[in-house]
Symmetry: C2
Subunit: 487 residues, 2 copies
Amino acid sequence: MSASPLGDMDPETFRREAHRVADWIADYLADPSRYPVLAQVSPGDVRKQLPSDPPDSGESFDVIFSDFEKIILPGITHWNHPGFFAYFAITGSGPGVLAEFLSAALNQQAMLWRTSPSATELEEVVLRWLQRLMHLPDEFEGVIYDTASISTLHALAAAREQVVPAVRERGMAGREDLGRFRIYCSDQTHSSIDKAVILLGLGHESLRKIPTDADFRMRVDALRAAIADDRAEGITPMAVVATIGSTSTTSVDPLRDIATICSDESIWLHVDAAYAGVAAMVPGFEHLLDGVETADSLVVNPHKWLFTPFDLSVLYCRHMDVIRGAFSLVPEYLRTTDPSGIRNLMDTGIQLGRRFRALKLWMVMRHFGAQGLRARLAEHMRLARLFAAWVEASDDFELLAPVPFSVVCFRWKPTAAQSESAIDRANERLLEAINKTGEIFVSHTRLDNKFVIRLAVGNLHTTEVHVRLAWDLLQRHTKTIDPTLNT
Amino acid sequence: MSASPLGDMDPETFRREAHRVADWIADYLADPSRYPVLAQVSPGDVRKQLPSDPPDSGESFDVIFSDFEKIILPGITHWNHPGFFAYFAITGSGPGVLAEFLSAALNQQAMLWRTSPSATELEEVVLRWLQRLMHLPDEFEGVIYDTASISTLHALAAAREQVVPAVRERGMAGREDLGRFRIYCSDQTHSSIDKAVILLGLGHESLRKIPTDADFRMRVDALRAAIADDRAEGITPMAVVATIGSTSTTSVDPLRDIATICSDESIWLHVDAAYAGVAAMVPGFEHLLDGVETADSLVVNPHKWLFTPFDLSVLYCRHMDVIRGAFSLVPEYLRTTDPSGIRNLMDTGIQLGRRFRALKLWMVMRHFGAQGLRARLAEHMRLARLFAAWVEASDDFELLAPVPFSVVCFRWKPTAAQSESAIDRANERLLEAINKTGEIFVSHTRLDNKFVIRLAVGNLHTTEVHVRLAWDLLQRHTKTIDPTLNT
């Protein structure tokens, strides 16, 4: 079929350019380490190469792609680079990328079953697969959102729905029948909890951060005391967020004990397992989520550590009907005569539109298989333990937190440094120096008021060679930094 | 570089499969009409062909792709089909699909400038391009979100931030200093407004739906009266939502008059131009957004009617600092030493993680050029007017709303039908019959308590041939339906 002059890119051009892009991506994914991991550009470098207006006439894809390589690529920080050890080193994969290509072409909008029966039903199937691999109870029902921020937002909205009478209709302002509410999490919890609490109109003050123990796990005694304390003051507990794999250290809150408290007190328990939840499928970690049987909701992100291109976050919930009750609204133009019993995914969320994200998780799980997924997660944990062992064996470095999964928190401890602040400054400069090499990218955090270097293994391209390189670079660069300078 | 046994799909397999998928997509996009537009499956058909557990061992992409064709494809409703006239007929395009392929491969997570300088700066550049094409004032700053639901949520969160003292810290429950608040929209406004109001904890009651005139436009006198009425009762107006292109009829609220009221009353004005905002770039529609100069925010969705694969929604805001003030939270692990003045996109939203969505809008705008974009939008509007003219000239059909853009609201009006409910039922059966053909897919709405068939032109593959086919099918099928049956 020939292209209409007012239609899409003509089919033969599309075919040619699709093959060009396929080859480019194949080359790229075969070896992303040909590029510096951290983009070596300054703010404004990309912007200043681009005109202030779009072209008046259309341009060939050839010219556009050439600008992609010349202007856009230098400003890319390569999350696929094997030396990417920063934040959570999220990882996509070949089958996931191909699925996204298909998904973009199909351009599904899966708001109603009938607007994409396959997206709707495949989502249900793959979320059951993941649920079984993670040993989550069957009673949980899963739904895909874009990010953990949105998954957690829905979990806490459901908690609010249960606790605040008629909140959907009446809201919270100007009501004399309402007192104050409280949500609890540890002082290591992710900032998405803070943002959700703010957005929901509960106020940041309603989030109470429970202190953690020496291993950065929520102190159960402190949680119990905080709840009692709040109740005595007339404040109603709304939810507790327990974290499995906190952002700084990947610490694991004592889920079973927290679950017991929440059951006893009838408080919604949300489990933030965005990063580490998938580890529950690895032999030796079968009991990671023990206690989740009585939890109300759990978030896990296959786009973080399950080889699925960003974005795909999953919320499992034992009371999806509460979320539906909070958000289901069916205007006439979306009313269907489909048989009852079907699931319309627009009813489980704030977003009406939804991409066909299940396709990539399906292709990833099938291509690697359960064994392949487990083996890769186990290998990342092995690499992190290996690095941690080098740190422990070294006189110049020290570990600053346990290593439950694939993240190592450590610092350089130069004997010549005179003070804690000098050590901090030396580590900051060390981090800056190694990130400038373009060979590795690591990030930092603060623990017990110390500046901490954080090495996260999670990228499919990372092997022992790269972890060794990181360790060598760190050691080599300590020799270039004077740790007695405290500036 | 050879693949590690614990790494990604091996590079040569990826290359081979990427070319296979490229060819498949090229064939598909060359003629999506080879498939029925509306999936011809029953609920459960897809699910029952899939196993209840993932495979233990990995499978070849060959097998997976074969299942994609055999199991997934029959359950796809083809939004690319030239006969897709339902809802808003959103459309992707070749350059957009290729950009999404690249974006999936690069797997950028653009939370901070340094985690993706190009995603951060390209977003700024392309949103300026779009802004200029739409004649939006320079003072607006744009940000990309996934959907209009999320864009609008942020706009209303900003309105709440301005009106409710210390809402970020203190929330709204249990506060004696707060009264009730009100948000106004027309009775034709999209359900995402309702959902946002509920999520924000304002309560559905706080949304006041203003009646519309005979052409489904918000009645300005009624808005003014509602505000006065609320103020008299001690209720504080928080925001007005004006719609440019409402969901049922694409009606256009009188923006300038509404803007004047909002200025006079100091009320946040949010403009929902998710579908029709892009029409402002078409000659003859330059004044579509007149009045927006004093609006506070506007949402427009390039994934709806600007040839950009789903998802990409843009929020333009004159006070992005209010949104930043509401949501900016920088935990230590995300603190950077980047020079000041850079934009970290995580600060403008509830979602920490963000995909590299700007790439597709950039490639789409460059490939089609401003002229190409305008010509395609104008053509869709021409096709809708053509169809509307056939309806008007027909004795058996009637138009039920004006056609400002590319959507036609009409119904069959068989002279033999005895009552309004018989006409409704006849139209329902007519809709069902034509959708069953698999040749076209149209949806419905209700207006003035009448069942209305809604034909939306918006797909890049749609030409006059397909609009003519829709008209022929409608006429042909009226002959198969007995309009006197009221069952």
